[in-house]
Amino acid sequence: MSTTTAEVREEHLSKEELEKLAHPKRPLRQRVGVVMSYVGMAAIVLYCIIPFYWMIVSSLRLPGEGRSTEFIPSPVSLQNYQAVFSPVNNFGRSVINSVIVAGATTILVLLFGIVGAYALARLKFTGKGGVLWLIMACSMFPLVVLLPPLLKMFSSTEPFTWFPYWINTYQSVIIPGLSFGLPLAVWNLTAFFKQLPVELEQAAMVDGCTPGVAFRKVILPLAAPGIFTTAIIVFIGAWNEFLLALTFLQDKNMQTATVAISKFTGTTGFDTPYGSIMAAGVVVTVPLLVAVLIFQRRIVSGLTAGGVK
């Protein structure tokens, strides 16, 4: 009805009035609300991005202008990036070390975490609450508690003279790193497995599969996205780890990228080489950011799994 009347009247309407009909006027309150929500969203994005923008801008200045406060670098220079990869800083090696440490941690954590998480998500057994508490507590305790005994152990001092000298080895960071990686993975994967309908396994078991086979052939392929997300989250956690690496990796050839950046001396003078530090920071962060942005939907749903259905 209303459309026909509008069509009929159309000829008599001015351009302005037509415009009004095409975009019906919302109540003022609502329009203010829409504008405010856009302003708010812009504020959030700026809040998150601006400091990072400063890091990028500072990395693109000339090496001597590390502390410049110009909002746009002039001239734009990649010299800081060259400095980062100059042999003096040994940064390339550090990045490789980080890849090895974070990669190994992720693989080990997934290997053990997947089966454990499946048990927690699906099986009923006594003591489950205790296990959940244990895993939770484990992810929460301060990492620094591990340092005194491990430092003693890994440097084979009394009374651990029987222990191999592990300072400056990958395993000295990978193995203690499991203490935060494994609970993280188990918790995250448990939430993912719980989201998959239990009927899938029930159907498989009715058809004669054991729970183990049902898990391997039915659940695992379906949980692949969840496993992948968990892998990214654990990898980022291990990649960003600082305290363990700082303590146990003292040799320049063994240290990870995060430690290397914190110890940057640059090629020139005593002044903090902010330019190359920022460049190194960008190098270390950008691969993570790319991965995070590509899989952002998955990661956020991984992080808030179960909260929103």
Partner: protein, 357 residues
């Protein structure tokens, strides 16, 4: 689909086993299977966390020998049992430093720094995080963009963000330029505290936001409609509906942020440096003692931090009723929520905890 394709291949291999479980394949022998599957995880946790924590507790009652042994004339090696000496030493005031709270033992200075940093950071993060969640919940379009933006601070390594903020807070840096001030943010001053608060809030507020947003999504729209019909104002809706209904999620988020901030290390270490008493946290103090081979005191301080963290967690769970585990199989739920829901929020919180390291 996957079930259908999987069956034929799996059948022959497992026929025998399958028969055994046929009576009640869903519950028979689950306990044994569960423990078998969990064994690797539990063993690893015991080895990489349990044993070191145990050793750390032992360590706290010992001290490394130093100096020359008077009986043999050799440089002393090994360690000796000192009882509670590592703990009681903090009351003797043998190691006084001057921080923001006057001159006191270095331990108490670090303890107060840790406590106040945590309180201030968590309050700010919660306020900003909830505000972010409310904005995002109202969003019509562009949620993806905001989500992408929010993940940026999370993905940046904490130590890199520490150095980034160090540059921003430099004496001649951009923060002073924008504010038109000459504040010595990094010079171990009172301003250093706030520099760290700002840096920490920037990195982690978004995660309280994401978690709260997830919590907001579970509030049914009908509740708001009913409130509107009854003439409730926006503020009343927020205080009477939104906050109470998002409270369980929010408490878990705040708990995990609190525990994570209590063990803060990277930010003060990277921004201000070690041995700066205005911002020295217990983690940094313990780390420094450990690297200077004073393992006994280092372990004692770490244990105190551990107990502190446990105490805070306990209080959250007991007094505020934080639903940390959130597993329907484990405990009877009093809430009217769906059964499969509870696993969600804690997962987020744990992620935050891990991600924010």
């Amino acid at each position: 689909m996957a079930t259908a394709t999987a069956e034929p291949r799996s059948l022959p291999a497992t026929e025998g086993d399958g028969h055994k479980h046929k009576k009640n394949a869903l519950s028979d022998g689950q306990g044994r299977l569960a423990w078998m599957l969990l064994a690797p995880t539990l063993i690893i946790i015991a080895v990489v966390a349990g044993i070191p924590v145990g050793l750390s507790i032992r360590e706290a009652f010992f001290q490394t020998n130093a100096g020359v042994d008077p009986t043999t004339g050799l440089i002393a090696a090994g360690e000796q049992f000192v009882g509670l000496q590592n703990f009681t030493a903090v009351f003797s005031g043998a190691n006084p430093v001057t921080g923001s709270y006057g001159t006191m033992d270095r331990f108490w200075n670090a303890f107060l720094n840790t406590t106040f940093l945590t309180i201030v950071c968590v309050i700010l993060e919660t306020i900003i995080g909830v505000a972010m969640a409310l904005i995002m919940a109202k969003a019509f379009r562009g949620r993806g963009l905001v989500r992408a933006g929010i993940l940026v601070p999370w993905a940046i390594p904490t130590i890199v963000s520490a150095l980034m903020w160090k540059l921003i807070f430099d004496e001649q840096g951009v923060m002073n330029r924008i504010l038109g001030t000459q504040i010595l943010w990094l010079a171990d001053s009172g301003a250093s505290f706030w520099a760290i608060v700002i840096a920490d809030t920037w990195k982690t507020a978004a995660f309280i936001g994401l978690l709260t947003l997830a919590g907001l999504g579970t509030i049914p729209a009908e509740v708001y409609e009913a409130a509107k019909v009854d003439g409730a104002s926006t503020w009343q809706q927020f205080v009477r509906i939104t906050l109470p209904m998002v409270k369980p999620t929010l408490i878990v988020a705040v708990l995990f942020r609190t525990l994570d901030t209590l063990r803060m290390f990277d930010l003060p270490y990277g921004m201000i440096g070690p041995g700066k008493y205005r911002v020295e946290t217990l983690s940094i103090f313990s780390y420094q003692e450990a690297t200077q081979t004073r393992y006994g005191p280092a372990a004692a301080y770490a244990i105190v931090l551990f107990v502190y963290v446990l105490l805070v967690a306990f209080l959250f769970v007991r007094i505020l009723g934080a639903d940390v585990i959130g597993d329907a199989d484990v405990k009877k739920k009093k809430k009217k929520k769906g059964d499969d829901e509870p696993a969600g929020p804690p997962a987020t919180a744990l992620e935050m905890a891990g991600g924010a390291h």
